[in-house]
Assembly symmetry: C3
Homo-oligomer: 310 residues x 3
């Protein structure tokens, strides 16, 4: 792997290799000394055109825990304010010879363009409504840690599928790992071509009681203003993920940040069946594994030995 652009590129063996390496890193994170020398002297650029506490933070921590240097570029405070094109920005940053560029941006497909413009490894940290592959990887990792495997698992992804890059990446990876995925939400928040995903589709939460895992998507306030739903209150009434609706043993996930009381109840967010904080915690080790995969494994020029992170 040279880049991580979309979840579509990841075969089951890639996903498993990255998750196994993340698990090896997780053991090192239990220690008092969390840093590993694997990426010492490497430089990672974070190029963030959208605000993000957890994604930028976990990439920055992941890189630093592997001893890489990190330089952050955010849209505010950069030349994009002066009207510089994405291409010129990337060519400029690329001339600084970074080893990897982690990009989050509102433009679907931009990370793939970047990969043509630079020698650096590109990591898609979310591009518009398109993909968010490291989120999907950490979600698979989180479920594997809890359940061992995803084969045959019934996973419901609930909410604003239309605008969700998380949904797009997760459907693909959950299926690749053997799970049966159902996408649920109001018809106005479902993409027209939803059939191509191969997932089952439901326009209500009837049947969610059979899910082993219920994954709530973030519902953004602006969707109501844009008239995709009559009101957040009505949306919550029909689609809020809530312990009473789901099976007693079902696990609850959410990519964060959570709108308590909208797409998920406060009780479900904080319940013992919630994996939400496990997901966040997985963020650092999975991103360590991704950066290691792209920067250390590819340069070594040989298959990386499993479980030998440093």
């Amino acid at each position: 792997m040279k880049h991580l652009l979309t979840a579509q590129d990841l075969a089951r063996q890639d996903i498993e290799r990255i998750c196994d390496r993340a698990a090896a890193f997780a053991e090192t994170q239990e220690r008092d000394v969390k840093k590993l020398p694997a990426l010492r002297n490497r430089t990672v650029l974070n190029l963030f055109y959208e605000a993000s506490t957890r994604t930028r933070g976990s990439f920055e921590l992941a890189a630093k825990r592997l001893s890489a240097d990190v330089v952050n570029f955010t849209a505010s405070g950069s030349s994009t304010e002066k009207g510089e094109s994405l291409k010129d920005t990337v060519l400029t940053l690329s001339a600084h010879q970074p080893d990897a560029i982690v990009i989050r941006c509102p433009w679907a497909g931009a990370p793939a363009l970047l990969a043509d413009w630079t020698d650096a490894a590109i990591v898609n940290a979310g591009d518009g409504k398109h993909e968010h592959p490291t989120q999907a990887l950490l979600d698979v990792y989180t479920l594997r840690r809890r359940l061992g495997a995803l084969d045959g698992l019934n996973v419901w992804i609930v909410g604003d599928v239309l605008h969700s890059r998380v949904a797009r990446s997760n459907v693909r990876l959950f299926q690749e790992m053997g799970a049966n995925v159902t996408l649920a939400g109001p018809p106005t928040l479902m993409p027209r071509d939803i059939g191509v995903t191969g997932a089952a589709v439901s326009y209500s939460l009837d049947g969610v009681g059979e899910a082993d895992v219920v994954y709530a998507l973030r519902m953004q306030n602006e969707r109501m203003q844009e008239a995709y739903v009559p009101s957040l209150r009505e949306y919550s009434w029909f689609f809020q993920v809530d312990s009473r609706r789901i099976a007693p043993g079902a696990l609850i996930m959410h990519p964060g940040p959570v709108n308590r009381g909208v797409e998920i109840s406060a009780e479900a967010t904080d319940s013992e069946r919630s994996l939400i904080l496990d997901q966040v915690e997985a963020g650092v080790v999975v991103r360590m594994a991704v950066l290691y995969e792209l920067l250390a494994a590819s340069r070594a020029g040989s298959p990386v030995r499993e479980g030998a992170p440093a």
Copy 2:
């Protein structure tokens, strides 16, 4: 000590231990090589909901000079823009397993809440109008360096006591160290329950000539608009700290940033009796001592030996 939440928690021996360690660190800062390995492989998160040159900068430098990794989160550019609650932000950051979270925020008491939500050590870097304990520590440190001890010292704290977290923390620590504190300012800028502090109160600068130390508080422009004072000009006339008003040998302090010509004259700011830059300089070493106290001493599980910072 697990956290530093308020100045109320600090007994005289704590203050002296931290100041002594800061003094030991200060010696190391005279060297050409200023870095110490004490917090190598530890991670400090700066979570700043308010702008601050000196506080964020001195915490960042303090952590880096102890070889810790630092990740900055500011309100602009983070999920708080998306409406995430403080609790969810902290749980998220906490899942990244930082060793310490340094928080500045406009909400009084928030740092104490954080301490319940995370395993990280919490350092209050200013919470609303409540407390700013590291400022008080560095002020005590600065006076001890100059004068040896604070016992019996007459300290006047002048200005907008009502809105000042600095005043609240400093009254407590100055008293704990044996000083006699007088709070002076217009009645509209004094808290109603000012008696509970145990400090003397003055509604004019009559008597400030007896002070050994005069500590000017920052006067914010918006106070005038909010009609706490008729005008900054009138405020300055009655309460500006100025060399002509105070005793020839009295020392002058200010937490910064200074409004020259408002709460303090330009001449007093730059005079030889001004400790203002000493206070700033103390910021780094005192914050090094605080981080060391919380991260290195507590983990060692034994009392830290005095004067053995690294």
Copy 3:
């Protein structure tokens, strides 16, 4: 050299020494391991009052590749928002005992003031319409790498000379290195006292065909609104740098960020004769050489041996 404040201070031997050292650093940057220990344990503060992708980024990378610690201060998020004066900000930062302060600001001459207020080495990273000496150094470096020397070279600098700190620094360094410089642009965008530069002046691109190097300056949208030019379209018609206007072998430069189709055509930007990305790439190594010159050479107290960067 204690500071780098303006290009006026640099004699030919200084320029050559810095460029030679940058070239030595460039070799190290070809390696897989790009970091050098030269500035380990030193602290560099970036104090940026203006947005800048490439300048801040290349200073940050330069410092980190020499193993220095970097702390960024930007105007948004700092005490300048509270109205603190530049002097107080600098005294404050200086009390943190940085080894160098890199400053970009809108105030011509401010870096020279800073040098009086602090013991840190000051690097001017652009001050208003005044100077941008590291840009000029990296431009000389880029041309020397391509051509060996600048003696006798015909260089045209084209565009908004009036508002350009780049033009001001580059005229000086190009001339010091033996080049013949022509400044070209509409009369409204030329300074009145342009004669003092010793450069030839042209109010059209007639004659640009004789240039060995054509250096396009950035044309800012606001210049049109301020009525310096009737329209960007008219400006482009007369002054756009474009392959058809210039000699077949002429090299093309631009300080970035580029306004494609305004001061330079997209074709010229991306052509093989364009040195624009070489300039960006030079940014890191030249700034490494500048920081090394100021922090490592001056402290050693002896002339730095050529070609011995670490």
